[in-house]
Symmetry: D2
Subunit: 439 residues, 4 copies
Amino acid sequence: MEAINLHFTGDFHAITSAHNLLAALVDNHVYWGNALGIDTRRIVWRRVLDMNDRALRSIVNGLGGAGNGYSREDGFDITVASEVMACFCLADDLADLEARLARIVVAYTREKKPVTAGQLNAAGAMTALLKDAIKPNLVQTIEGSPAFIHGGPFANIAHGCNSVIATRAALKLGDYVVTEAGFGADLGAEKFFDIKCRKAGLKPAAAVIVATVRALKMNGGVAKADLARENIDALRAGIVNLGRHVENVRAFGVPVVVAINHFTTDTAAEHQLIADICRDEFGVEAVQCRHWADGAAGAEELARKVVALCEGGTAHFQPIYPDSLSLEGKILSIATRIYRADDIAVAPKAAADLKAFEAAGYGHLPVCMAKTQYSFSADPTLLGAPTGHTIPVREVRLSAGAGFVVAICGDIMTMPGLPKLPAAEAIHVSADGLIEGLF
Amino acid sequence: MEAINLHFTGDFHAITSAHNLLAALVDNHVYWGNALGIDTRRIVWRRVLDMNDRALRSIVNGLGGAGNGYSREDGFDITVASEVMACFCLADDLADLEARLARIVVAYTREKKPVTAGQLNAAGAMTALLKDAIKPNLVQTIEGSPAFIHGGPFANIAHGCNSVIATRAALKLGDYVVTEAGFGADLGAEKFFDIKCRKAGLKPAAAVIVATVRALKMNGGVAKADLARENIDALRAGIVNLGRHVENVRAFGVPVVVAINHFTTDTAAEHQLIADICRDEFGVEAVQCRHWADGAAGAEELARKVVALCEGGTAHFQPIYPDSLSLEGKILSIATRIYRADDIAVAPKAAADLKAFEAAGYGHLPVCMAKTQYSFSADPTLLGAPTGHTIPVREVRLSAGAGFVVAICGDIMTMPGLPKLPAAEAIHVSADGLIEGLF
Amino acid sequence: MEAINLHFTGDFHAITSAHNLLAALVDNHVYWGNALGIDTRRIVWRRVLDMNDRALRSIVNGLGGAGNGYSREDGFDITVASEVMACFCLADDLADLEARLARIVVAYTREKKPVTAGQLNAAGAMTALLKDAIKPNLVQTIEGSPAFIHGGPFANIAHGCNSVIATRAALKLGDYVVTEAGFGADLGAEKFFDIKCRKAGLKPAAAVIVATVRALKMNGGVAKADLARENIDALRAGIVNLGRHVENVRAFGVPVVVAINHFTTDTAAEHQLIADICRDEFGVEAVQCRHWADGAAGAEELARKVVALCEGGTAHFQPIYPDSLSLEGKILSIATRIYRADDIAVAPKAAADLKAFEAAGYGHLPVCMAKTQYSFSADPTLLGAPTGHTIPVREVRLSAGAGFVVAICGDIMTMPGLPKLPAAEAIHVSADGLIEGLF
Amino acid sequence: MEAINLHFTGDFHAITSAHNLLAALVDNHVYWGNALGIDTRRIVWRRVLDMNDRALRSIVNGLGGAGNGYSREDGFDITVASEVMACFCLADDLADLEARLARIVVAYTREKKPVTAGQLNAAGAMTALLKDAIKPNLVQTIEGSPAFIHGGPFANIAHGCNSVIATRAALKLGDYVVTEAGFGADLGAEKFFDIKCRKAGLKPAAAVIVATVRALKMNGGVAKADLARENIDALRAGIVNLGRHVENVRAFGVPVVVAINHFTTDTAAEHQLIADICRDEFGVEAVQCRHWADGAAGAEELARKVVALCEGGTAHFQPIYPDSLSLEGKILSIATRIYRADDIAVAPKAAADLKAFEAAGYGHLPVCMAKTQYSFSADPTLLGAPTGHTIPVREVRLSAGAGFVVAICGDIMTMPGLPKLPAAEAIHVSADGLIEGLF
């Protein structure tokens, strides 16, 4: 576990290097005459580090005189937010990876024409840096089950699940393959379906929606401090959130089972209520899971239900919107069908950018929504299963290499900061070489 | 070879991470109240990347409002210039590494008191990031000889040779251990002897000084374009440079053999002249080496001479100056005894800093000279064996963790830039996964 | 006219100097030890220049090493946007000016406590720089009428009309005093009444609302290119805008006359319609003015009406809201009673700031609205006399010296840029010393 | 006196405005497409403020997104250091001023070709801003003598004396005109002669060299604290400094009288010694002056000597070097003939720049030396009348509008900072409108 949490097989370092090589090539191109006419105010390729470092969020680079190049505003994101990470996770193979990297838009000219990594001849060397990283990493659980850990695209400005290559390898090697798709199902499942499955031709046979008694009570209005107390009314009020997720996943044509992650403060009455409502109102089975305490045995019942769903053959997966829809139409689709908003409010600059992306030939791309995971709406305090709201789209970004357009619906942070007492302060290596304080 | 030149075992990435963790902790400490009273204008711990990126040499960080911290001037060096790299290469073991990291001075207070990584509780986590990297990497040559490749401290602001741990492991495992010490012997050998051997208690039994006909002719005044033509007079004029190196190495009490790296444009007369002068005037044997063409066989004669020197037991190694000398005295020692200068000219600020380092308890440290490798003087155009010059010391820096004080005698560049046509543009991965264009 | 448009009596230069002296004292205080504990991220006192210079809108200052101080984000506004200008225009006399300058909040501490110019001992010297500028400037029109031109506070982040001292001097010297209050009456008149008259104890006896046929047609939906054509329907549709202004000014207890600024493209039918509707529907007289062509004679009728209103004694002026109302309450008052919005939407940060201002003892201040002059709402495209809208308050700023809180309801620009072909390029001085190309 | 020390007639404000207008036009030109191909790294036209503000010495401007232009390194100087000030002081009339302003080099292209204010069409508008300022300001002393105070070019990077226009006006109006030329005579007199007189065709008839007993004793090695005590030996040692100045001024063909500014701590013996040595060794009269105590009467004797010198007709003024000499030759001339150095040491970049200036047609310009006023050498601690030293020229700057090339021989500060206790803190305006605390 330590190894996975530190350098692991070095994949993130390789992605960091490939990303920053491209960044260096951009500024170097400008330095040596700027044959491509890059507008230094419109360089959109930032730099990355695998470190939470708020001081690097926003910088001015190229200071110190003519020899250091043209000063400009720049900044660092964390490595998982790199478009290289998303390219890496969505690539079919090395050749496709290189093609994706070449398509990355790094800047715009004064006339607002995109400039790509390919025009900078960067894709080959970036691919060389990634040639080993792209091989999936096979690890095992404490009980010896095989698992691929490969890639880690940020779940807001990217699609949030592991590599296509790892999934395909798993499909060849195993009987059943489970993919974790981060955050709430309105984000994680939607992106897994509409981006990864669409692009990789994957056909999911079943979906597990994970819920907790605590989260459902919170959706029913209970304050964090009071979550440990039984509260049947709040649970009943909040479970509409789960019902909405079930409906949403089914809208993709995938059959669903609900997994209730057991906590010690849960009561039998609460579990019973969930099971009853799921069965009676949502038409879905809810299974209690205790793997945190009992290991594989604790998830056996869930596994059997999943297998049954898969073998049932009821899945007829399809994305929620077609490639041919306009970019704004795609955003509207997700907003109204998944988030159940009445409308979207696209900022004028963002609307213009969407038109420009379409004019530049990127209209066929899917959209990747960056939205709070705390609500179906863009307002993190709007719990339960809200309707009638409006989804504001304040900015859009093109990830031409990854192959999607990011729609930003609120503040997103692509470079975290450290807390007042950083975990690092408690970490050290013991005399016998073991790391202490990591968890 | 590709692997070594790309990510290899990830050691450089680990050093980059450890270095940048410390940088993030410094700014984070200031952000959360600055209990240690760090003066943001006097933070000397820059950031590093393993990338030639001139745009990052000089930056302003922390922009974008109060949430991103206190703006300040900052910059990036390449990873090999990190003091973590030097700590890593000079450490006895993990515990010593952690102690060294803790001693790193990252900043000064308004009252100019040093603030260390230890005060920021950073050393444990940095060590954890380095716990695998610190294990030496054993590789083999094309003919199967074992070689440790471990660490790569910059040869100007650091000591320029591989890790103490690797050397000690080699001494346990092999009969003879050869260490490459970069640049000219006035820099590489001096630092190997005065820093690494002194600190690690190593006792070299013999030294090989490598020369080429071309370099000696260049020292005799021949222009680069004319080096391919035989020129006995120039060789005779330039060989004083080699004689000076022989004398210098002997001053450390280590017996010497000269290795002439053969080039196809060398003539027999030239080789004969070198052999004669070495024998008659310098009292040293000069051996022709053709391993570039003949592999191990081409260096066999040299190897036999080295073994003979080692077995001869004539070495009585000692550093050129004692720990107890003042810092300015140490610089003067090297300048007059190795560089054969008449004097040093220490800039007023540098002289004051040396005094301050001594007052703060760092007076016992050796000095690490940052000087051009093209001349014994600080003027790269002063060839041969100059005397009567003055060595300017324009700046000094404390590497309290590595355990030396750097004396900068001219311009040094700790973050290179890319050329007009970067090598990266020619690199790609072939269909069968091989990297092309790397060399 | 040239003199007025260039340096005039140097008042703006004096304000620039006083403002920038304070800025220099802030950074100098931090430099020399920061006894007041100013948080360099929370210095709100920017610098000013009387020059349209977009390059100075947002800068980083204090670069170049420790001797140049602590780097931080800063920027320049134009001089008219300086709070010194607003203090200057609202001051009773030199002593009051000094007191106001002393109250200016220049920064906050880390604990978010305000730091004032008074704490920096800056107010005396600033006043010294303004001691001549504060004397009103008396000029004359082409026909010889006296006019005071004194002060020029920006009409969005300040109150937009000339100095209290000039107005009081005029009241002593003349029979009738006319004050121009910039932009639309929802902004200019409201601020003149609620800020200047409230603070200076002025009691306006009558108000002139200036309108044009063109503007009313534009409010009726006519495109700019079509304004020269008679359009009775559009005029009828747009005149509701004028009616709203009349009602608003009357709400302050001040009797009104409408002045129609004549344009050559106006038609008799249009003027007749305005006169009829004003009389029949708004109960106000509308007078045609042709002073642009006929000089004083062209405004004589208007003047007689104004005199009649003044002598009628029907005015019973009072501000629209009392000092005692909360700051948010004051904003709501203006929004609902003048702008006829249904509600205001105060951004969370702005709401917190308003509370903080009240806690710090600034709750009694009036508010100064920064809003588009193109609409009663915050949306410049919403013409006519809209209702039902919401006024967004995205940011609030404290002008403790001027004595008001600015509520920013949209984008405001406090440092303009130059156009592609700056007027400066056409200006020169003729051989006989006359300026050409200024207009 | 207060008025002179505050805004006076606004000339400095006008110069500030003209300077900053040009700066705004430079960035605006780049913003709107950069038709002239300005290299943003090579814009040499900084901004100015008439305020000591160290925070503005070095800034990055143009931050905040594409709408604010291209970010770049910039900075502010004080207004007296503006080249506009130097142009203003050396101009013959408005037309010549405009021509000079047009010649100002504001930037270089990527190919290092100069770009001028004229190419930006800036000179006309700058001249318009200066059209009143260029008229000389006539003031009177306490005793009623007329004096022109007009212009104030910085005495290191500019020529340090008042305007040509004022001097010419004075020559028409008065019988004798005295010009103050700042700093030591090696700087002030040399620049007055070689720059102002050469350019304006002025022919000085006599020169007064001002000395003090204190300064001569300091040149003889007395510490500041001991200057109040009689010290005949030190005076005798230090008076060589005065002798050197006398010789230097005579080298320009101008007859000399020495004025000893009397201090209360001077002794009769000291004054006698100076008088004797001046007469016997330097062949010059030394007159005691007590105008600080006795007003005009205290300088009457000096005045009579000056008149006698003028009427004596012995002057045959000529500059120390001809226009036709190379730029480096001119620097060498001054260094060897006035500073009595053996040689100059021109930094490689500076030498290249001088060649470039000559290639661009600026070789005929005089040079303006920026050197310490504390020594004839570049080392402020080298007192008396040193010889054998070398003058380092570390940087050169072109003032094409002013009409000279600045040679910088050490550190120069073009933007001072405020002290720990700024004078501003003690200044205020009394109840009756008088400024207190200014002196």
